[in-house]
Amino acid sequence: MSVLEIRNLHAAVEDREILKGVNLTLRTGEIHALMGPNGSGKSTLAYVIAGHPHYEVTEGDILLDGESILDLEPDERCKKGIFLAFQYPVAVPGVSVANFLRTAVSNVRGYTSQPVDAEGRSGVIGSNLMPMREFRKELNEKMKEFNVDPSFARRYLNDGFSGGEKKRTEVLQMAMLQPKFAILDESDSGLDIDALRVVADGINKLATPDRGFLLITHYQRILNYVKPHYVSIFYDGRIVMTGGPEVAQMLEEKGYSWVEREFGEAVAA
């Protein structure tokens, strides 16, 4: 079992503190839903876990199986098994989904770090990749399994994708990269009913005992398909309440004004 532990995490962007002491423990085999109002810092938390250079951690730590990952570059964190499905996936024109995924998979699975010649030198970047045929076969299977149209392999990454297509492609990436911990930042937003099902099915397929999830969402809706073990409420840069699925239910009924009444002062103090 692996553990991703966020301890008293404070983070700032441009001198403004956004995360104000987050404590959260994710374990493989568990799904942890995180709900909270707009602007409360959920995406910031996700970015800080993935290592976005814009955010400065001012206090606290993030430990993966007891070791801090704060000094690791985003690519190194990914190789350690941390995956972030973006709320707003970024377009990279001219780079095909297939080429991108082959490079990513080759890095994560260690192909690229192998020496290219007898003298042990590593080669030109991009020269040591997962064999094309093997990769294609796997990609085709995964595209089928996760309901992504095969034509997307040749399309440029997120370039001109609809909102729903982007989210599905994030799930496909997760399926290819097989992370230990996946942080899904509103993977359910902007989806029509069918797409929501597809994304939820994808998450369920990947929710194996060797994987943990942080499911950031605004809606109870997805939790009808994906059953969380824990639900936390995020408010003004920290987690103010954690419980079982009933917390999501309660939130749906009472809304964030209730959270504000309940926790607003405590936070402000």
Partner: protein, 471 residues
């Protein structure tokens, strides 16, 4: 770059070479440093040229002396014309030994995975026998169709009448200072003649006939595509060209007749101490298509603006260029399209990348002459800056003398996106590789126009440039 088949052929030839071909190496000849009429005579004597060419060279030299250095483009003050050797017999280059090739270049060859034979050739060491033989087998095929593909010196010897008819008609010696210089001291380059209606399927690659003098500093290329014919000419190699000379000044003239097509692809990767000042121009007659695909990666300074003069109705001109300016480099490149007839169309797409303080300039001219009504032109130039110290400029000149025309011009400058970098890195891709991918994506619309081997090499080169291991 050689294809697999070429490489197989190379292997066989290698053995012949070892059986003593090298006995045939000619004695070395080169002119003294600096330039004067004496030097011109020596070149002409060596080449045993017709009198008209000798006179042409002398006149060109006077024009060269009379013209000032252009001051509107890149900084050329570092060129010392008196220090340059203007003519070197190719045997001189063959004589260079592998040991003299700089370590950095060898390392790059290594990393590119270029086979031994090719490396030596690229570094100007031996191996020309190899390519010679490949060339010969293809040449038989072309000869059957009446296609002529020779080095310019042989072209002049064997087809003087054709050369004389077209030589310097597209780019006269007086066109600019460096065209004049080339006209005075030219040596090597290609002579291509494609007869009426003939379609040459395999791209003609200058690489095949390296034995001739085409790797020189002052190549002169002349391509004539007769009515309804088509050809794709590919010049240059993607591996860095090691040259002991610091000035490269070529002239390329192309005549594309009625309904003919010509595509000219260059990937320039001179070592980073070379001034690369090239004049390239094509005339396209009625219904003809001319396409320039131009990649500039190497050199210290490049000034190159391939031009298409559309002389007949419905002619089409296209210029696709990619420039990569790294540390200490200035790529001043672009294109010129001149609409001199009605219903002509043109397209310029220019992409530049600047890194480590490099500077890329787009300089373009779009001219629609009186009478060229219903002409269409679209110019797009995109620049990508990889850091704060690098620079990109755009100098578009547009002259329109006709009413009914459609002209589009778009320019963009972008910085490599931090969000794109983070996104790719969050998928396990290291920073350099992620940046290389973004750059690769940026130029992909042009790279996909390259012949396959060149496209692959181009991407690898970009990756190397991104690692900062070249230069």
């Amino acid at each position: 770059m050689a294809t697999h088949a070429d490489r197989e052929a190379l292997k066989g030839v290698k053995e012949d070479y070892e059986y003593g071909f090298h006995d045939e190496i000619e004695p070395v000849f080169k002119t003294e440093r600096g330039l004067n009429h004496d030097v011109i005579d020596k070149i002409s004597d060596q080449k045993n040229e017709p009198q008209w060419m000798r006179e042409f060279r002398h006149q060109a030299l006077d024009i060269f002396f009379s013209k000032p250095l252009p001051t509107w483009g890149a900084d050329l003050s570092g060129i010392n014309f008196d220090e340059i050797v203007y003519y070197v017999r190719p045997t001189e280059k063959q004589g260079r030994s592998w040991d003299e090739v700089p370590e950095s270049i060898k390392r790059t060859f290594d990393r590119l995975g270029i086979p031994e034979a090719e490396r030596k050739f690229l570094a100007g060491v031996g191996a020309q026998y190899d390519s010679e033989v490949i060339y010969h087998s293809l040449r038989e095929e072309w000869e059957r169709q009446g296609v002529i593909f020779l080095d310019m010196d042989s072209g002049l010897r064997e087809h003087e009448d054709i050369v004389r008819e077209y030589f310097a008609t597209v780019i006269p010696a007086a066109d600019n200072k460096f065209a004049a210089l080339n006209s005075a001291v030219w040596s090597g380059g290609s002579f291509v003649y494609v007869p009426k209606g003939v379609h040459v399927d395999i791209p003609l690659q200058a690489y095949f006939r390296i034995n001739a003098e085409n790797m020189g500093q002052f190549e002169r290329t002349l391509i004539i595509v007769e009515e309804g014919a088509s050809v794709h000419y590919v010049e240059g190699c993607t591996a860095p060209i090691y040259s002991s000379n610091s000035l490269h000044s070529a002239v390329v003239e192309i005549i594309v007749k009625k309904n003919a097509r010509c595509r000219y692809t260059t990937i320039q990767n001179w070592s980073t101490d070379v001034y690369n000042l090239v004049t390239k121009r094509a005339v396209a007659y009625e219904g003809a298509t001319m396409e320039w695909i131009d990649g500039n990666l190497g050199s210290k300074v490049t000034m190159k603006y391939p031009a298409v003069y559309m002389m007949g109705p419905k002619a089409h001109g296209e210029i696709l260029s990619i420039a990569f300016a790294g540390r200490g480099q200035h790529q001043d490149a672009g294109g010129k399209v001149i609409h001199a007839a009605p219903y002509t169309s043109s397209k310029i797409v220019s992409k530049s990348i600047s890194k480590d303080g490099g500077r890329a300039s787009y300089r373009g001219l779009l001219r629609v002459a009186k009478g060229a009504h219903h002409s269409k032109s679209n110019v797009v130039c995109d620049a990508l800056l990889l850091d704060e110290h690098s620079r990109s400029d755009t100098y578009p000149y547009i002259e329109i003398e006709e009413e009914q025309v459609s002209v589009g011009h778009e320019a963009s400058v972008s910085k490599i996106g931090e969000e794109q970098l983070f996104y790719l890195m969050s998928r396990g891709i290291g920073e350099d590789e992620a940046a290389a991918m973004i750059v690769g994506g940026f130029i992909e619309p042009l790279v996909k126009e390259l012949p396959m081997e060149y496209a692959v090499e181009m991407n690898r080169l970009i990756q190397l440039q991104m690692e900062g291991t070249i230069g």
